[in-house]
């Protein structure tokens, strides 16, 4: 956990986009042991979710009697690069849509199955399996003007102070990346490994769970899972991470 007292010491620091060094994955801020865990597919616990997702991909379900595979074929081809470009603009809702919600949309609208809950084992597994197909590919946010206002809003939220501790994301992740906050090094907040396996959680979790953790740490009321603000933040974080390779499943402390 991030300690409030230490966070308070950072409040006075101003932060701007200009403070941001060259983008570096959060993987570069973890211990050699954690890095080794991520690198070995037979030791990386996140692979349990990837392999569970592979099973779900092939399982027929819902009123359509179809599996993801019936429509999309081999995920290695059809899902390659998909995670690197999400969130995308969804004309139906006139808003960005992230990968988890897209997967749920396919389940409810096309497969005729029940939607999966945020942080459910099934949604995390499918999300990990789909995102894993982009491992090694650079984050490539879509050049889509319709997304601009939402990226701007995500950026605004990122630089806005929040919580009782009254501190912005940028005050930690831009101004103090690479410095210590209790036991951990502060990463640059690049969302390249999600869903990640977090040792503290003893489980895989989504980017939104990670963001909610940072918000609680500064004693802010976290945005709800699936909230528009969450998706805007995800979108902005992906735009900052352009060019970094997707790592799913990442391992973090």
């Amino acid at each position: 956990m991030i300690r409030a007292g230490l966070a308070a010491a950072l409040i006075c620091t101003s932060a701007s986009a200009a403070d941001m060094p060259a983008p570096k994955s959060g993987l570069e801020y973890v211990s050699p042991e954690t890095r080794a865990l991520q690198a070995d597919d037979f030791a990386n616990p996140g692979m349990l979710w990837v392999s569970g997702g592979a099973d779900l991909w092939r399982a027929a379900t819902g009123t359509s009697g179809k599996s993801c595979q019936s429509c999309h074929g081999d995920a290695k081809q059809s899902m390659r690069g998909v995670a690197a470009r999400y969130p995308l603009y969804e004309p139906k809702t006139k808003r960005p849509i992230d990968l988890q919600v897209r997967i749920n949309q396919c389940r409810t609208e096309r497969q005729g199955a029940k939607g999966l809950g945020f942080e459910s084992e099934e949604l995390l597994s499918l999300g990990a399996y789909v995102a894993h197909q982009s491992r090694g590919l650079p984050v490539k946010p879509p050049q889509d003007e319709r997304l601009t206002p939402f990226i701007k809003n995500g950026e605004k939220l990122y630089f806005q102070r929040m919580g009782q501790i009254d501190i912005s994301c940028a005050a930690c992740h831009n101004a103090h990346a690479g410095q210590r906050l209790s036991g951990n090094l502060i990463p640059q907040a690049h969302p390249t490994g999600y869903p990640i396996y977090r040792l503290e959680w003893q489980s895989a979790g989504s980017l939104q769970r990670r963001l909610r953790g940072c918000m609680s740490a500064v004693r802010a009321e976290p945005f709800a899972y699936g909230a528009a603000e969450m998706v805007d933040l995800e979108l902005y974080l992906m735009s900052r991470a352009a060019g970094l390779p997707i790592e799913t499943p990442g391992v973090r402390p």
Partner: protein
Amino acid sequence: MAARIMVNAPASAAKGEVIEIKTMIAHKMETGHRMGTMGQIIPRDIIHRFECRYDGALVFAADLFPAVSANPFITFTTVATKSGKISFKWIDDKGKSSTSSVKIKVT
């Protein structure tokens, strides 16, 4: 969802060779020491026993305790003696037993 298990073992080996086997299973390993939101104890549910059999004979076993973290990763070595089946079994406090196996060719 079905039990999620990962096993990594060589598909072939020379007779007498020491082979490394890596196993991992998804399990929450609930310690029995945590409390739920209403202050009640969450009952212990851990995998307490792991066994590996090579062609039916027990070659490796482990007793696990609440301090073992979730999704236990167990890696060990054994000697390749003959072609056959290497099987794995995990047993938890609810009596659920999960199994998996691999084939090995020994030349």
